[in-house]
């Protein structure tokens, strides 16, 4: 059986804005990974690996977009082209990939997995609309069909949540997919529900094992009529918006 441990070699690392970096690496042992799935990177001196969504996987080259927060991301941002990197992959479940008309909504670094998803959806022939919210112009990461910034320095002014109704009305999606801070996901889930639109959200939680066994990353979901624990690392990170108990 192909194990999920890989060693990669850094092909590119670039700073995208004040806090966000893009890193690319490949490993001969990693054959495939799907949108929504994530990898978990070993960071020198740290006990826990750090999970990151896949922003792209092309010709064996994995791309991750990450925001510098603490020691783990500091370590990764200090890596150089040619350095090796140990990671586990693929981990977690995936977004649904089909040809349904999909509205993708990201906020902040949450846009990372949506780039890869958007690409795959388009390959399936789906019509998509990629919207994202950021704090300010300097935080905007890449190209979108719609952008809002909290301070109005780029795109529309305000939180992406303020534009949900308009986006839904204009684009009329069959499905909404989102990756964003938990407060935003909650709003999106509830708006989607009120419109009876399918909704998939990618959650975050501090992780240890990444494979569902340590029970460190559970959230509550309502399934088969009862509330139960689900692990973000294995049962997720992708959940149906309406099943999450907030």
């Amino acid at each position: 059986m192909q194990k999920k441990n890989h060693t990669g070699k850094i092909g590119a690392i670039t700073q995208i804005n004040k806090q966000v970096y893009s890193i690319e690496f490949s490993s001969p042992t990693l054959k495939s990974i799907n949108p929504g799935q994530y990898i978990s990177i070993l960071c020198e001196g740290l006990t826990l690996r750090r999970p990151f969504s896949v922003a792209d996987f092309d010709n064996g080259v994995l791309k991750v977009l990450f925001k510098q927060k603490g020691k783990g991301t500091e370590y990764i941002s200090g890596l150089k082209v040619g350095d090796s990197i140990e990671f586990s992959a693929p981990l977690g479940n995936t977004f649904t990939i089909d040809d349904k008309k999909t509205l993708l909504i990201g906020a902040g670094i949450g846009v990372a997995p949506l780039f890869y998803l958007n690409k795959k959806l388009k390959e399936e022939g789906a019509e998509t609309f990629l919207a994202a919210g950021f704090l300010s112009k300097e935080d905007v990461l890449g190209d979108f069909d719609f952008v809002s910034t909290d301070d109005g320095t780029f795109g529309e002014k305000g939180s992406i949540c303020d534009y949900l109704e308009t986006l839904i009305k204009d684009f009329v999606p069959d499905r909404i997919v989102s990756c964003a801070p938990s407060a935003v996901l909650r709003i999106i889930s509830s708006v989607a529900k009120s419109h009876k639109i399918d909704c998939e959200i990618a959650m975050e939680k501090v992780m240890a094992c990444g494979i569902g066994i340590c029970r460190g990353c559970v959230i509550e979901v309502r399934r088969d009529g009862k509330v139960q624990n689900a692990t973000v690392c294995k049962d997720g990170p992708v959940f149906k918006g309406e099943e999450v108990v907030w």
Partner: protein
């Protein structure tokens, strides 16, 4: 040829590298990373009579050279274990130890009986669980309640009975002796060290706080574990299975040198999910290279190491 095998009473292990409870699943879950069959023994996640949902809120917190967990014993319960996990262990020939937990002596006894009936060859008692009958003090911190617990379980279980000790005690010697006197076959130590992580955020003039109070594990506690094992080794004769921050072959040799007979790998499985298997290979190579043909030989040499 190097012989890494050992016996804990009647319980046989191909090698002394065991994976610790709560860090390796119930059965073959780590096969995505590691050849689980090669592990000396897998200790299952702590299992209770009924399934448990565990604690609310944040359960994991990284600290300097360690982590805190407050999983709260979330587990599938013994019945699901027997139905879904035991067959996998048996079919795949994975050597294992059932870790059991409860809030009352009867819970442990009942679980031990079930283990006995199902011919489970080894059980490990997690005695760091709150004892409902003594105001939620852990069983394992009081020598009398520990003695009683272990004796009762002993009466109901004929396999290899391992008692896993908590380091959160004034006197390691007392609890170790209680376990030995109650006829345990082996002691494993240490369970996690009580600890707490605090994360503060300061937003708009207000502090927000997350606290994770639970058990500290990982490299940070290795000195605590070495001290604990060294101390209890001086007073008990039953074999000691040591754990606490083991990451390397040198760590293992250190624990052997203070008297451990086998070791468990816990938190390190999260950092390096194939580490248990790698350590077996490294130990074997070390013994081969330096011409130790049995584990006994190596361990005796280590225990007799000259002090400098």
């Amino acid at each position: 040829m190097v012989d890494l095998s050992l016996k804990l009473n009647e319980f046989e292990l191909d090698n002394p590298i065991i994976t610790a409870s709560g860090t390796y699943g119930y059965s073959n879950e780590f096969e995505v990373f590691c050849d689980v069959q090669k592990i000396g023994a897998v200790v299952t996640k702590g299992i209770t009579k009924e399934p448990r949902l565990g604690n609310d809120g944040q359960r994991i917190f990284e600290t300097s050279s360690g982590m805190i967990n407050r999983i709260g014993l979330e587990n599938v319960g013994i019945q699901t274990f027997l139905k879904e996990k035991l067959p996998i262990l048996q079919e795949q020939g994975i050597n294992f130890i059932l870790n059991i937990a409860g809030s009352a002596i009867d819970d442990y006894v009942e679980l031990a009986k079930i283990a006995d009936k199902n011919k489970i060859k080894a059980i490990e008692l997690n005695v760091s669980c709150p004892n409902v009958h003594s105001g939620c003090i852990e069983f394992g911190v009081n020598k009398d309640s520990l003695y009683k617990l272990v004796s009762k379980v002993r009466d109901s279980y004929s396999g290899c009975l391992i008692v896993k000790l908590s380091p959160n005690v004034t006197s390691p010697e007392e609890v170790a002796l209680a376990a030995e006197n109650a006829d345990a076959d082996a002691i494993s130590a240490i369970n996690t060290v009580r600890g707490m992580g605090v994360k503060l955020d300061f937003v708009n003039g207000q502090f927000k706080k997350t606290t994770v109070a639970g058990g500290l594990s990982g490299k940070a506690i290795k000195p605590v574990a070495l001290s604990f094992v060294d101390r209890i080794h001086k007073v008990v004769d039953i074999p000691i299975i040591a754990m606490g921050g083991i990451y390397t072959l040198v760590d293992i040799l250190e624990f052997f040198s203070v008297g451990a007979r086998a070791v468990q790998i816990g938190t390190a499985n999260f950092t390096h999910p194939d580490i248990a298997q790698k350590l077996i290979i490294e130990l074997e190579e070390f013994m081969q290279k330096h011409k130790f043909s049995t584990l006994d030989e190596l361990q005796n040499k280590l225990k007799e190491a000259e002090y400098v």
